[in-house]
């Protein structure tokens, strides 16, 4: 694999440092929430992971358009990387939300619009990875991936706005939510600072992972073409 660019090394170190600072803020700087207790601290990274997941799926949407316009396979590599990282963050978002819900809603899972749309979104993009595996021709695979990523992107705004459209018990962090929401709380200035810092940290972490994953994808593509060449020569 070609050596890492200096700027990527800087982002590697920065994202690790930011994650350490964000963790310190979550545990030491942000106050304990008056009703929910310590489990509320999960909220900072839970929302930040959801945010990073949305960035990933949006990047995949942009890459899909890029591929359909140019036919350049680099867009496909970038789109696949974006979906994969988006899936990791969306998975963490769902699992950490479920853990938060257990003491607050008294259940690990409920058929709430936000939980359902987030899980459907996760499954749609998981299917993207699985269905790609079944297509051997790289150009066909990329075209299929691009069309699928554009259609699948419908689930992203649907998930984001679900708590603002339908009656839900999921709290709304920004803007007003359903009065029936359980677990909503008013953020103190320290909580807000920690929340915004966590969003920033996970945005940088996304960029870092994304760049590293694209490099891995390009390297994998190079190895794949070397294999094809070796097979033709044999």
């Amino acid at each position: 694999m070609p050596p890492k660019p200096v700027f990527l090394k800087v982002i590697d170190i920065s994202s690790f440092t930011l994650l350490l600072i964000a963790s310190a803020m979550v545990f030491l700087y942000a106050p304990m929430e008056a009703v929910m207790g310590n489990v509320q601290r999960v909220f900072y990274f839970h929302v930040a992971c959801g945010w990073a997941g949305f960035i990933g799926f949006t990047a995949a949407f942009v890459c899909a358009i890029g591929y359909l316009r140019t036919g350049d396979l680099k867009w496909d590599i970038a789109g696949l990387a974006a979906v994969e990282i988006g899936l990791v963050f969306a998975f963490i978002n769902i699992v950490s939300g479920s853990i938060w819900a257990r003491p607050i809603w008294n259940t690990w899972w409920t058929w709430d619009p936000r939980l359902v749309t987030a899980t459907i979104m996760e499954l749609i993009y998981l299917a993207y990875l699985m269905l790609r595996q079944g297509i051997g021709n790289p150009a066909r695979r990329a075209r299929f991936g691009a069309v699928y990523a554009i259609l699948g992107f419908i689930s992203v705004p649907l998930t984001f706005f679900s708590i603002r459209i339908w009656s839900t018990i999921h709290p709304v962090v920004i803007g007003s939510g359903d009065p029936e929401a359980k677990g909503a709380f008013d953020m103190t200035p320290r909580m807000l600072t920690t929340f915004l810092f966590s969003l920033f940290t996970f945005s940088v972490l996304f960029v870092d992972l994304y760049w590293n994953r694209i490099r891995l994808g390009i390297f994998g593509e190079r190895i794949e073409s070397l294999k094809m060449k070796a097979m033709e020569e044999a």
């Binding site: 929910m36 207790g37 950490s96 938060w100 257990r102």
Partner: protein
């Protein structure tokens, strides 16, 4: 929770939550590193085959 006097004791769930968050991130980093190592091995095999 309606008539409780102080914050609920939910530290165990907080630990579980952060274990899931950091555990998943570490697992993904491990997966990236593993895939890179496998590709490096493939490249070495292909280069040896050329010689």
């Amino acid at each position: 929770m309606l008539f409780q006097e102080g914050p609920a004791e939910t530290t165990g769930y907080m630990i579980l939550g952060f274990a899931a968050i950091f555990g998943s991130l570490l697992a993904y980093l491990f997966s990236l590193s593993n895939r890179r190592k496998n590709l490096e091995k493939d490249r070495e095999i292909l280069e040896d085959g050329k010689k």
